[in-house]
């Protein structure tokens, strides 16, 4: 990273006013900077300029290109710990409701598994992960579009899920490439899915009024655009032609192109009994995730439409029943 660039001042300014409300002069200055920036700095500047460029979407909202995704389970756990500890730190310093802060800390500690003192747990995570990559994640990867308190936690939770799905995609690819080891790889994918389950309890503390307030400024970005979720879905089974043509896949062209280019999926392969059993357990874990997402959307949105040009709750209700490992024709 360009150490001379005033990262902290820029991030502080974005967080002080909300990404949607940053002064045009700052954005113009950042855009000019990007013309000659190093690739790393340019990636950060792309993150700050997504709305300015008119290419704001879910991946840019959650800084996907700045997150270390797709590594080992240890790397996933490390990233989730950094993100969750950052949420707790934020709650402890900026929380606006004492009881809610206590609740989020309790739930966050359950994810972190580091005792019952949130401050001590945050400090322990920060001590354990104090390298340049961890520092970059903490400092540079969260730019809420608004000043609504709960949006910060919302972004961090979306990042945790994205990281989880990126890891799962790695494992599913392993299972496809080496069918003899498929049961083990799919088992690891299932375990990651189960480990992410307690995150739903944290997300569920989000106040609907806050969500409805900041979504006014997140329009154009939707979880439907999650790259890694779609990647996981398409690695399980080739999506039907109708789904490939839907906004869900049109919004992730890199995944759609892989599928159209003939990406192999688990559904295409003959599996042994152990692998089939692992696939059933994974399907169950993914179904739980889909149901949790649906229930949260009902709580937050009710009958309102979703962002990213989706129907919202009816869409989530429909896709939660999509078979995970069914063939293209059946799905």
């Amino acid at each position: 990273m360009d150490t001379d660039f005033p990262f902290d001042a820029v991030v502080a300014e974005f967080q002080r006013v909300g990404k949607h409300f940053v002064r045009p002069a700052i954005l113009a200055a950042l855009a000019a900077e990007r013309e000659t920036a190093s690739p790393e700095l340019a990636t950060f500047l792309d993150f700050t300029l997504d709305k300015y460029d008119g290419r704001y979407d879910n991946p840019s909202y959650i800084a996907v290109d700045l997150l270390p995704l797709g590594g080992t389970r240890e790397q996933l756990d490390r990233l989730v710990a950094i993100l969750v500890a950052d949420v707790l730190r934020r709650e402890l310093t900026h929380g606006d409701d004492e009881r809610l802060v206590a609740k989020r800390c309790r739930l966050g500690l359950r994810v972190l598994g580091r005792g019952d003192d949130p401050l001590a747990a945050c400090a322990a995570v920060e001590r354990e992960f104090d390298d340049a990559e961890a520092e970059r994640v903490r400092r540079l990867t969260v730019l809420p579009v608004s000043l609504v308190h709960d949006e910060y936690m919302f972004i961090r939770m979306l990042q945790c899920y994205e990281a989880t799905f990126a890891f799962i995609a790695v494992k599913l690819r392993e299972a496809i490439d080496a069918p003899d080891c498929a049961a083990e790889a799919i088992g690891e994918a299932e375990q990651a899915m189960l480990a992410a389950r307690p995150l739903w309890s944290m997300v569920a503390t989000m106040r609907a009024a806050h969500f409805l307030e900041f979504r006014e400024f997140t329009d154009g970005a939707s979880a439907i655009q999650s790259r890694n979720y779609k990647l996981v879905e398409s690695l399980c089974a080739r999506p039907s032609e109708a789904r490939l043509d839907s906004p869900a896949y049109r919004s992730v062209p890199e995944v759609r192109e892989r599928v159209l280019a003939g990406q192999a999926s688990l559904a295409d392969i003959e599996h042994d009994a152990a692998a089939r059993a692992a696939m059933e357990r994974f399907e169950s874990a993914l179904a739980h995730w889909r149901n949790s997402h649906y229930k949260l959307a009902v709580k937050m949105l009710g009958e309102r439409r979703g962002t990213g040009d989706t129907e919202g709750v009816p869409y989530l209700n429909r896709v939660r029943s999509l078979p995970v490992f069914a063939s293209a024709d059946a799905a």
Binding site: D4, F5, P6, D8, A9, V10, V11, A12, E13, R16, V17, V22, R23, A25, I26, A29, L30, A32, E33, T36
Partner: protein, 114 residues
């Protein structure tokens, strides 16, 4: 009406003397002062806040803009004459990590690039 006068204490440094308020309404004048200050060979921009009466949220945004523009030109940015209140604002907004803050002009100029 704010004023932003530009002085030339050395070949490589310029001082912008700020008088009055810095708000969003000062944008054109401050950016004009910066353009006048950052001619060929200028490597340090020193902001003199001794005459500052008031700076609001919009003013902070202008300083961030200046910082980014100065970085693009490879210039360092320094400041002096800040009251305790505005020093705290600089800390809160992390400007203090990118702008070298000094007690007075000689101290700031001593830190400029040659």
């Amino acid at each position: 009406m704010p004023e932003f006068a530009v002085r030339e204490p050395s070949a490589h440094a310029r001082v912008i003397d700020i008088t009055g308020d810095i708000t969003a309404a000062s944008e054109d004048q401050l950016m004009d002062a910066y353009t006048r200050a950052s001619g060929d060979g200028v490597r340090s921009i020193v902001l003199n806040f001794g005459g500052l009466d008031y700076m609001n949220s919009g003013g902070i945004g202008l300083l961030v803009t200046l910082l980014v523009r100065a970085h693009r030109k490879g210039q360092q940015m320094l400041a002096f004459g800040l009251s305790d209140h505005y020093r705290q604002i600089f800390e809160l907004t992390r400007l203090d990590e990118a702008v070298g803050i000094h007690a007075d002009e000689p101290e700031a100029l001593a830190q400029t690039f040659s």
